[in-house]
Symmetry: C3
């Protein structure tokens, strides 16, 4: 199904009915509204103006549209900020981050919790049972613009409370953090300070706890909103819209607050936000890299418990990347189909019409700025609407054969302590995902500790802290498992495990890591054996009680296996990664074959999708029956057949 | 004529008379003094010490020199800053910018207006009718060191007043800014905050208004000084000295305050301040790029209403660029002649003698540090003095055939909203200017809205906001006109025009821009047709009701013409730019021919100048009668003939 | 002799005796403890806990180890910081640098002097005559993490006092600083402000004085600690541990406080801290550049008055560089022998055992994290222990033939006023040192003004301010002397000397510098004559009354000689540097021959050492009698023979 984001408050009321009619004509079933409208709903404290929103809901509902109502907490109005300066977040340099854009609040502000509850309740009470309203979105893009962390007095107060709850005594805190080092011990919780503005790096254990604390605040704040909505809006679902390449809070617990999760898919802008090479950036500048959106579809489907929406789909050039090219013709359609192929219930475009004023005036919409006339992207959405109508309901998504374990805490741990400047967890996870997708396999992205039943191959790019549940899930799995470097390298309190890494996985893997080496970009270490290629960025030296499958040139073991469990003691270059996956697929009895560059596949139930992100046409095998597209899959083309 | 900047307060009084004598001997007629001497004029509040300045003026006047007296407001003394901390500017991060260098005041400080008026009046009263004083310079280099913008309480107060005057009501403010977006609406002007220290980007309309406000403050502050001077110094002119590559305030209104404007020409240092390629930077490191000084001569001649001075001319290596090489032998002479060729009344060297102490001790002067002995640059100035004496008075400057429209607001708009990281207005304007100069044409730089009568070719590299006056001037012109990308793309309130860009010029051009695309450095789009080359950085897609003269490879029109009015929907690479200009010159019936690299021409009345910035000699056509120089124009050479 | 750094407070008391036993078994004689233990010694004000430290000293002493006791002033505990916020340093942006790491104090804090004296006296009283204690280390790594400079109210107060003492009157201050420039004059010392947060660059004379002031504070603070220790610990020596590539305070006066100085040698991490080319960084990534540690050995031997220790020797990969590779096998042994060859009394490894928690958990030790099991580096240290036992006491170090004059003030002056962005004094000094070492010569690094008696060749890479003592030492020397660019270019008050550079050395050298030119990276000037190559980065034009030995292409003199005194008017490229040294060695009658890349030599009394940092083996001349190593010196190999 298709959706769209709409802002009735931006347009003359006289345009609304025609807008709604044209949405329906385009094949749109869902419309999201309201998430930035606080200053229109409550222009002054307690002076609510519901009239316009009543009318907007009626117009949309009367046209047959289902409304997703957003809570407006991402944009507290100026009168509220002036009343309560403690709402503002404080940046890492100690400066208030003021009014004038959005997300100007800290999750630690007690005032803001109270005010958020007040506005959410007012809206939920008024519209909770409105017939047009089918669901709710809480807030908008938690964490956007670096807003998870805040470094002010409110945050310090709340962090000390969290530590008191977590550690009970300062002795336990000092012990957990190793505070004896550099005389960092405290004798009262009120002596704890935030890990910013220090002379040199702060204790990594403190930084990790500060991230956990902030992340848990997000989940709790979000749950507070959900609880209020549920109390006043029976039978409606809730969701929240997440972002791409964003790891500042743990998304899994937030996912548990909701019926499903959503994410905002801007494939082109993201090309500049990932450490691609310049060559890759040029190659994918107007199509996006073929695994960016899919990675997130698979990730958020996992976080959503098997269901997800794209709440905001890029409909043309946007405004926020360093460069904002027009997508290649056909890409808006392709991205929409790709999302559906990965199991999306709804793909909702952002936004119905380009807004001619304010910050996002250069962000395309389905309609030209200020006009009731479709843009290029609008016409592509129209095609999808037609095609979807022709195909009927899509089959449900099914479990993949391959699972990739993704952990937000891994990102934090490895970011807090890179040890090599280019050891970036997300990059490693993404490159492993890409490698599996380029051999035609579907992937589920799973949470550590989640059951691995039913998977044939499990990939763990890195998992520095291994919980008891995660260890148990690995032990219980019958899959072939590949663990990457630094897995098991830290305890929960950010120290090196007793008896060395991989800590709790030592027996399962039959290895012990005695030394690690980070390599500057000019350096690498050759690897040879059952797999081959080179280690870049990172090499580990290990004692191996199990089987060595490949070695570095200096004789150290590079890939060890203990039955189904494999450990790769390196950041692999492309060849080492692909030969390793080839070996592992064989061991997992999975059929894999390399796809041409730019071609990707995805199965959704009985439907098999093929996408061409590349510059060359590709011939689809003869023996399939196409239900969409041509046998010669042209650049930017989509094909679907039944299996 | 030649001038020089002199600081009697830096030298023992015993040196003054000999300095004055040697100036005159060198051919110098004008000397600028006093602009940093506040702490010597008024060492403590109201304790004026006029004696030294009385004597200095007399010594200089007695030697026959004409004195330009500077107001010392660029350097308020410490006692004043300690009395009134509200004078200090506040940086964008919220920190006071303290005493210890110069320009430590905000234009918003009411205290500083009062104190400036006080010191200017004191000096103007004392020396307004001194026979040696022929003119005045207000302040010094407004805006140098990023001092136009300030972000403190004084600035906020003044900005709110300005908004109140401009918009009358907050409803009109909210409407103009599109504040409904992200709930940015205010209900009182005192709710407005400055557009800094926000979570993410602020409203571009706010930023544009903040720039206009600050710019207007500069003009008003400058006018305040001019008014005081005029009241006390009958028959003297005023000027102020502007800078290179500097656009933080609108220079046109400041120019209106004065009899003429001046600028400070440091051709070599500027090579590092413009986004040249590394190759260009190496090639021009010791001569300067041949269009840097000329561009500014033509710009400030325009701003000065047809008259300008070079108030500070680089006389050798300076101290403030990342690298400060010795200029190639002859360049000080060449730069001086180039300024005169472009119409300068006076070229005044900075400074008479290198100062052995303090911040600028590595800045060359006409004399060696602390000595009464000419430097290399001093000897070159001496040559010009002799040559000028030989030539007699130079003829008046005449209008060129080509006008280039330059707009400070264009710089602000496109800087506030680059949309592509390398869309830099000044760079675009400079490259268009360079392209015209390399085909031997003289250029006038004009203000949008100014009459275009008498021009055959008008170039508008970009003009996002088109005022009514500008539109009328284009309509009234009989010239061939070329408009560049993003012209007409914004309303006065920084939004996309109704019915899309180019807004008010839509009918004149017969086009409508529906989509824009910014391209990262690795990408380009080929253009072919009556002109050819490639678009880099920026491409626009347009609906064309007029004639398409060239197309992009994907079929979109790249160059459209509606009669004499042409629109180029791209940032042109060098070839696209030169073929376009070739076509336009032909249509304007202008004779143009490519000059060898490094050769430039300029006409001043009956005199024709040629300059060689390059490394190869060039043979001047046989049929001219040289009044200066040789027929073989050697590197760093100057030639003049009559036409 | 070998030593080690040990933290009994980090480990269960039950491990101490076995640790001590294993140290002795490894050949370790000295152990440093205590320098970060304030929070364990005094967990709350005046609540001292001596028990654990009593027992630790006894365990170590009973095992036969000699203890170096550190004062814990680098890590004031949280209760103290909460009591006295004025202790915290203020960064250049005006923000307090808070608790949470180390070195969170400013040397200007009167409170902290009092508190430091209190804790040092308490420790010195208790352990001053403990039989295991043989010496003391004051504080730890003065200045680490940019902590020499602080910019707060305490610093301003102390700076004004220092200026009052130094200049007596503001007239003299204004005169010395040239404050008349830009009206920077003051009439009271309390008008002086710190040279930060100004609009543009501050007066270089102010900045230089601010650095001198801060540097003198370090020496005085350190002397305060030494005086207390000496009063309570008769017969023990003191030292302090200095760092690599660190010049923020003048180390020579601090050296005078102590019996000898120490330094902390981390050869690999330093490769990323020096402006090497990428090629060099890759080549030396796992061995270190062969002159980094030696340069510092020679420097700190000089500062220590002929004696030095390596207090912290890198034992494997560390944690603080952008990349932290495992050193090549053998390098820990090689570095240890290299330090001994340069005259070190003791090489002390940092640290006994890798700490599994807190900031340095990825820093290798001689033992694996948390375990009583040697690491790779531990086993190499064990080899050195055995080899040292076999060789017996090493002979005393002797004076070298070559002296290199190194001046901390030169670094400050040239950093305050680079004039060319890549004019870096330390780099110049290091490259000159490297050039001498690659032709097999030993070097002493000496302080300007120190007697040069006994040297055949004296190198002065640059010495902008030449004190009377320095001038006298040059005049008295019978050595061939080579002065580099900018020598003599500034007075003590940071101005250009009367009659121009080289100031006081003008007569000695027979030259006068009239113009200087800094060249961007793409540019160079060829040099030819008795020496040849090219000038890069920096060229000077001089009047030469003495002999010109080589010229630039434009005819200016590049190398001038007045008898034994030579002046090089350029930053030399590698060829110009080597041909110049070749010429100078010949003139000094020194035998020099180029060594293969990566091979270095050093003599210590009768022992001749050879080291192979390269990738190729090297055959040692046949005629020597090896006492350690093989005739074929393999990569990472060490050889010793008697001469």
């Amino acid at each position: 199904m298709l959706g769209v984001c709409y802002y009735p408050e931006h347009w003359p009321e006289t345009m609304w009915a025609e807008d709604a009619r044209r949405m329906v004509a385009l094949g749109i079933s869902h419309v999201r509204i309201g998430e930035f409208a606080w200053s229109r709903i409550e222009p002054r404290r307690d002076a609510f103006d519901w009239g316009w929103l009543d009318r907007a809901l009626n117009v949309l509902g009367n046209a047959g549209l289902k409304v997703v109502l957003g809570t407006p907490t991402a944009t507290p109005p100026k009168w509220l900020m002036d009343e309560h300066p403690d709402i503002a977040p404080i940046d890492e340099e100690g400066r208030p981050r003021g009014f004038g854009s959005r997300r100007h609040y800290t999750f630690s502000s007690q005032t803001y919790w109270r005010e958020s509850a007040r506005i959410v309740e007012a809206i939920a009470r008024r519209y909770g049972e409105h017939p047009a309203v089918v669901g709710w979105q809480t807030d908008n893009e938690y964490g956007c613009h670096d807003t998870i962390m805040s470094w002010g007095a409110e945050d310090l107060r709340a962090f000390r409370q969290w530590l008191r709850r977590t550690y009970q005594s300062t002795d336990q805190l000092n012990e957990a953090w190793g505070s004896v080092f550099w005389s960092m011990e405290v004798t009262e919780f009120d002596q704890v300070s935030l890990p910013n503005l220090t002379v040199t790096e702060t204790n990594p254990a403190t930084r990790l706890d500060f991230r956990r604390f902030q992340s848990q605040q997000v989940a709790a704040y979000d749950r507070m909103q959900c609880d209020i909505i549920r109390a006043h809006s029976p039978g409606r679902w809730t969701t929240t819209n997440m972002m791409g390449f964003f790891t500042e809070f743990d998304h899994w617990p937030v996912g548990e607050n909701h019926d499903f999760v959503s994410w905002d898919s801007y494939p082109i802008g993201f090309v500049e936000r990932f450490p691609f090479s310049e060559d890759e950036r040029n190659r994918w500048a107007t199509t996006s890299h073929p695994d960016i959106a899919p990675f997130h579809h698979d990730l958020y489907r996992g976080i959503g418990g098997g269901r997800f929406w794209v709440m905001e789909q890029q409909p043309g050039p946007v405004n926020w990347a360093p460069w904002n090219p027009v997508p290649k013709p056909g890409m808006v359609r392709l991205w929409t189909w790709e999302a559906l192929a990965h199991g999306a219930d709804v793909v909702s475009y952002f936004r119905w019409r380009q807004m001619p004023a304010a910050q996002e005036q250069m962000h395309a919409g389905l309609n030209l700025p200020g006009l009731q006339e479709l843009s290029v992207g609008g016409r592509e959405a129209e095609s999808v609407g037609r095609e979807l109508a022709g195909l009927g309901a899509l089959p449900p998504n099914e479990q993949a054969s391959v699972a990739l374990v993704f952990d937000y805490e891994a990102q934090w741990v490895l970011d807090i302590q890179r040890q090599g400047a280019d050891f970036r967890y997300f990059e490693l996870a993404f490159r492993w995902y890409e490698a599996v997708r380029t051999i035609g396999l579907d992937v589920d992205i799973v949470r550590p500790g989640q059951s691995l039943e039913g998977y044939r191959l499990v990939l763990v790019p890195s998992l520095p802290t291994v919980s008891d549940a995660a260890e148990q899930a690995f032990r219980d799995s019958s899959a072939v498992v590949l663990y990457g470097p630094r897995t098991g390298s830290k305890t929960r309190h950010f120290s090196i495990p007793d008896q060395l890494p991989p800590g709790a996985l030592r027996d399962l893997l039959g290895i012990r890591i005695t030394e690690v080496s980070s390599l500057r970009p000019g350096l690498s270490e050759a690897v040879d054996g059952l797999v081959s290629g080179a280690a870049i960025r990172w090499v580990e030296h290990m004692d191996v009680a199990s089987t060595a499958l490949a070695h570095f040139a200096d004789g150290h073991c590079a890939l060890a296996a203990n039955g189904r469990h494999h450990y790769l003691a390196a950041w692999p270059d492309a060849r080492l990664l692909s030969t390793t996956l080839e070996l592992l697929c064989k061991r997992a009895d999975l059929k894999a074959h390399a796809l041409p560059p730019g071609i990707r596949m995805r199965r959704r139930g009985s439907l098999h999708f093929a996408f061409n992100y590349g510059a060359e046409s590709w011939e689809i095998p003869n023996d399939v029956e196409l239900v969409l597209g041509e046998r010669i899959l042209a650049p930017q083309g989509v094909a679907i057949w039944r299996v």
